[in-house]
Each structure stands twice: as structure tokens, then as C-alpha cells.
């Protein structure tokens, strides 16, 4: 059984306005069948270029790639019959209804009229779109459009699906819905290559990960291995009164069994936490000890931290106004691929 994806030495550069931009630099990638593999990296790292080459949209300058043993250049036709592609923009027709879109893509994938209609109904129901099936897609919300887009790639039951940043721009509820669908697909045996800028998304979905930077894979591993490399989550406790520093430090030390870091300037005590520790576990003892707390936050490692750990530098060099949310921090970027 050949691997779902086998790529070696992929290189690709583009003529940009400021000279030649190297998008891929001898990239190697293996994705075993039946798994979810994540390509993790900042914008411009080359993730989309990998997907475009593997989905036959782009020819590499050097190197070769196979999908289920079919060469993406020489056997492009067979590769196309095997894959489904869900890109960053919802690639569906806005003027047609959801049902019409799915039937059309089904027919174009080679299903008979009856099979296309039946499969469309099945997917509309499964993707919670049956209520909107006969409305024009332009009336859909972003999340609905993304689900329809995913359904369109599934019409012919592809063995391999490319999900290029499937949840970028979605609200949290839609994001969780898409994650659920992706997991179901894997349950059914579909191989999935996922690109994402969100460490949390990779952590939630992927069986294995490749961290990409400047067109190369700089790290392969499971999400747990990567997280171990990054280090644990941290709890940040912000105090109201500097007189409470000693008590707070003592409480956290007793609770977590590690030595907390004190940041006097930020009025903050920080400590690494282990799995299973919750904010409540820390908040109540602090309260019992009479410590006035203005904020407690569990800071998860972000993609930025992964980059810092793996490369020793931040994912995006020239950016200092980065705001880190507690979850799924996104690295701001300046276009390009």
C-alpha cells in the first residue's frame, strides 16, 4: 500500500515584484493513508504551495510528488480523480443553490445524475445544510459556505482531502463544527492533509504534524511531541496589591509543586501547569488565602512558541504589535505565500 502522499525534494519559486521568492526549498513529506496530517506554519511558509502542487494545480520546479502512487505531473488525471480540494476561499458557485452546486460537482466527478442527486442530499443533511439547500449560496453565512465547500470536495468520496486553512475566518462555533466533520471523515478512512496557522487546530485534529518555515519542513512529530518541545501551559495570576506577592507565590508553589516566576512590573506571578490543572484549582486557594486577584489566565503555547522552540526565533520577524489570545493565537503576516 503506497503512502497517501509521498513528496521529495519539492522546490518552487515565484517571480515576485521584489525579485524571485522561494516558496518551497527541497521539501520532503510523507503522509500515511488514513491519517490526518497537519502542515503548520505562518503565512508565506509554503503550505499552500505544497497543497497546490499535490492537487495538480502547480508544477514544481524540482522534486517529485506522488498521491497514492500516482505522479502528480505525469498522472495528473488519476490524481485528480482521487482527491478533494477545499481551499481558502469557498470554491462554490454563489449564484447557484447549495443543492445545485453539489449535483454539478458530483456530475463533474463522474457520478450519474441519480447518484449525484442522492449523494448531494446525503451530504446536505450530514453537513446541516438541508434547510438552506435550495437557497442561493450568496445568502449563506461564512460557516455554511465553508461546509458546502467541504461537501463539494466529498461528492465523489475522495481517498485524500486537502484542507487548506479550513477554519480561517470562521467563528468559534463554525470552527468546532468543521473540526467535527473532519474527524468523522478520518473515522471513515479518508486521508486528510490539513494546513493551518493555528497550533490549537493542529493539536485538535492532526495525528502527525510537519512544521514548515521558509519552504522547508523544520520539524516532524505528533502534536504531543511538539508540545513537549514547546513546554507546558502557564498560568498567569495578576495581583491587585503588591503586598500579596509572597502569599500568592506560596499558594502556587504548594499547589503546583514548582517554583513560580514573579514579574513585579506586571504585578504577575507565573507558573507552568501540568495536564489536569484548572484555573479553579488555583483561584480558590488564592481566594482562601486572602489574595486579591485581578486576572487569572491559562496561557496555552502558541504557534509562535513552537517556532521559538524549534527555530529559536519568532515566526514573524518584524511584528511587535502581536496580540496573543489565550487560544489559537494567529500570527499576523503581510501577504505573500
Amino acid at each position: 500500500m503506497p503512502a497517501a502522499v509521498l513528496a521529495s525534494g519539492l522546490s518552487k519559486s515565484f517571480e515576485g515584484r521584489r525579485g524571485v521568492v522561494t516558496a518551497l526549498d527541497k521539501l520532503d513529506l510523507t503522509v500515511p493513508e488514513g491519517t490526518i496530517h497537519g502542515l503548520l506554519g505562518p503565512n508565506g511558509a509554503g503550505k499552500t504551495t505544497v497543497v497546490r502542487i499535490l492537487s495538480t494545480l502547480l508544477k514544481p520546479d524540482a522534486g517529485r510528488a506522488e498521491v497514492f502512487g500516482f505522479d502528480v505531473e505525469k498522472d495528473a488525471w488519476r490524481v485528480r480523480a482521487t482527491i478533494g480540494l477545499t481551499g481558502q476561499d469557498a470554491a462554490v458557485d454563489r449564484v447557484m443553490t447549495g443543492r445545485e452546486n453539489l449535483r454539478m460537482f458530483g456530475r463533474l466527478f463522474g457520478l450519474s445524475k441519480r447518484a449525484a442527486a442522492a449523494r448531494a442530499d446525503e451530504l446536505l443533511q450530514r453537513f446541516d445544510l438541508d434547510g438552506a439547500a435550495d437557497r442561493q449560496v450568496k445568502t449563506y453565512s461564512g460557516g455554511m459556505r465553508r461546509r458546502l465547500d467541504l461537501a463539494a470536495s466529498l461528492m465523489a468520496r475522495p481517498r485524500l482531502i486537502f484542507l487548506d486553512e479550513p477554519t480561517t475566518g470562521l467563528d468559534p462555533r463554525s470552527r468546532i463544527q468543521v473540526w467535527g466533520l473532519v474527524r468523522e471523515l478520518r473515522e471513515e478512512g479518508t486521508t486528510i492533509l490539513l494546513t493551518t496557522q493555528y497550533l490549537e487546530e493542529a493539536d485538535q485534529l492532526a495525528d502527525s504534524l510537519s512544521v514548515i518555515d521558509h519552504g522547508r519542513v523544520i520539524k516532524n512529530g505528533t502534536p504531543d511531541e511538539l508540545k513537549a518541545e514547546v513546554g507546558p501551559d502557564w498560568v498567569d495570576v495578576t495581583l491587585v496589591d503588591s503586598a500579596d506577592f509572597d502569599t500568592a507565590t506560596e499558594v502556587l508553589r504548594g499547589k503546583l509543586g514548582v517554583e513560580p516566576v514573579v514579574d513585579l512590573e506586571a504585578m504577575r506571578v507565573r507558573a507552568p501547569v501540568s495536564d489536569g490543572d484548572t484555573i479553579a484549582d488555583m483561584l480558590y486557594p488564592l481566594k482562601d488565602a486572602g489574595v486579591a486577584v485581578s486576572d487569572v489566565a491559562l496561557r496555552r503555547p502558541t504557534l509562535d512558541d513552537v517556532f521559538l522552540a524549534v527555530t529559536g526565533r519568532s515566526g514573524e520577524p518584524a511584528s511587535n504589535d502581536r496580540t496573543r489570545a489565550a487560544k489559537g493565537a494567529r500570527i499576523p503576516t503581510k501577504g505573500g505565500r
Binding site: S55, F109, G110, P158
Partner: protein
């Protein structure tokens, strides 16, 4: 789980089909898509119905009294010119914009990542654009007849003229498709890809006889396919000899298709954003 496994094995996609029936499925699905877009878009009413009527009325009222034309009847002279111009402003503009928007949209990427013949995508679109011309032609003929236009050449030449117009329109739609795939997006398609239609349609015999133009311009205006096609339609619809112009228009149409269709398909296939 057993059912699911069986489900996966049943994948139709494992053995991709090729050949003519497969190509026809692709082209007809693309044509259906485009027809839906045409019928559901407000542009059909605007550019397919209101604009032709407006042009007919404006030109016949404004120029009708001032322009001396062979035969003396300006309405009879004008209508074939408007027919061809509205093919440009309708189907050809529609193809250019539609293709340019698709390229921008990401839906082309999906099509290109699927086992569909690349030519069938564009063939489906250019063929279905004929519908737009048929709708606006019907409206133009009705309005024309109200203000005095008649098919004086008989039934068969009239049918032949309509067929010639549709074929010429198809050829120009391929040119529109080529412009659409070459444009960097819908905006540049609109700015650069449509502007040529004004000089192309006006520098011809469509609205005034070329005899009134300066000599240097006549060299072009007498030989442009715009003049050739309009004169061919005039001959067929009025009942005057049109043989050479009909043949020339057919030759132009075939020539335009032979040059622009392969280029458009190739450009569409190799395009990478």
C-alpha cells in the same frame, strides 16, 4: 462501520473516465451553470433587455434624421448594426467578465483540480452565452418591428442571418474568454477587457456608412469583421446581395475561434495564481 467501509470501496472516482461522453458531461454541466447565472443575474435585464432597446431608440431618434444611408431607411440600416454591437456588449462582455470572475474566485481551482477536460469548461461557457444573445435579439427584433424594421429578404435568409449572428457571436465570445483568462482579475477585465468594444463597434459601417469617414480610417473600417458581419446581416435581412460578406464573416469567425480558443484553453490550464 461495515457499511461505511463498503461505501468507500464503491468509489466511482478510482477509474477516471475519459473520451467524448465524458467531455460532453463536463461541457453540458458548465453550460447549465452559466445559463443559471445568466438567468438569475440582474445583468440580463439590464444589458440584455434595457440596453439594446435604449440603443435602438437613441440611435434611430437622434441619428435617424441626419444620416443618409443607402436605401434611405435608417431603421432598416441601423438594426443589424445594433444586433452585432449588442452581441459584443452582451455575450462577449458576459464571457469576459464571467471567466475573469471565475479565475479570481477560486472555483476555477476546484475545476482544475478535478478530472474535467479543460476545454469543456470554456466550451460550455461560450456555447451557453448564445442564450444571452437569443434573448436580447428577440427583444431587439420586437422593438425594431414596432419602429419599422422588417425582414425584407424572406424567411430563409432571415434564419440564415440569425444563425450567422450567433456564430459570429460565439467566435467573439472565445476572444472574450481569452481576454478573461488573461486579465489579472474582474476589475482589469472590466477596465481593459471591454473598452475595445467601443472603437471596434463604432469604427465600422454599423451606424453610419463608411463613405462619410476620412480615407485613412476607411481602410480599416471597410475591412473590419464588424463591418463585414453587419453588411452581411443587412444583405440577408433586406434582401440585397450579401454573398461575399456572408463568406467573409464565416471566415473571420472560424479564424477568430481557431486562434483564440486554443490559446484560451491553454492559458486556463496553465494559469497559476
Amino acid at each position: 462501520m461495515v457499511a461505511v467501509t463498503a461505501d468507500l470501496r464503491d468509489s466511482t472516482a478510482q477509474a477516471p473516465r475519459r473520451g467524448l461522453p465524458w467531455w460532453l458531461t463536463g461541457a453540458s454541466e458548465m453550460a447549465r451553470r452559466n445559463i443559471r447565472q445568466i438567468l438569475r443575474s440582474p445583468q440580463l435585464v439590464m444589458f440584455g433587455l434595457i440596453q439594446p432597446v435604449m440603443f435602438i431608440l437613441l440611435f434611430s431618434v437622434v441619428f435617424g434624421g441626419a444620416v443618409e444611408v443607402p436605401g434611405g431607411d435608417y431603421t432598416q440600416y441601423l438594426l443589424p448594426g445594433i444586433f452585432v454591437q449588442m452581441v459584443l456588449f452582451g455575450s462577449v462582455a458576459g464571457t469576459t467578465m464571467g471567466v475573469a470572475m471565475d479565475m479570481q474566485d477560486g472555483i476555477m481551482d476546484r475545476f482544475r483540480s478535478m478530472p474535467i477536460s479543460r476545454s469543456s469548461v470554456l466550451v460550455g461557457r461560450t456555447l451557453s452565452e448564445i442564450l444571452r444573445t437569443v434573448v436580447s435579439l428577440f427583444v431587439m427584433v420586437v422593438v425594431g418591428m414596432i419602429i419599422g424594421f422588417r425582414f425584407l429578404g424572406g424567411f430563409l435568409p432571415a434564419v440564415g442571418g440569425v444563425a450567422l449572428l450567433l456564430f459570429f457571436g460565439l467566435a467573439l465570445s472565445w476572444l472574450g474568454a481569452l481576454i478573461g483568462v488573461s486579465a489579472s482579475g474582474p476589475q482589469s477585465a472590466q477596465q481593459v477587457g471591454l473598452i475595445w468594444m467601443f472603437p471596434f463597434s463604432f469604427l465600422s459601417s454599423a451606424f453610419v456608412p463608411t463613405a462619410s469617414m476620412p480615407d485613412w480610417l476607411r481602410v480599416y473600417a471597410d475591412h473590419t469583421p464588424m463591418t463585414t458581419s453587419v453588411d452581411a446581416l443587412r444583405g440577408l435581412f433586406t434582401g440585397t446581395p450579401a454573398g461575399d460578406d456572408v463568406l467573409l464573416t464565416l471566415a473571420w469567425s472560424v479564424g477568430i475561434i481557431v486562434v483564440s480558443a486554443p490559446l484560451a484553453v491553454r492559458k486556463y490550464g496553465s494559469r497559476s495564481r
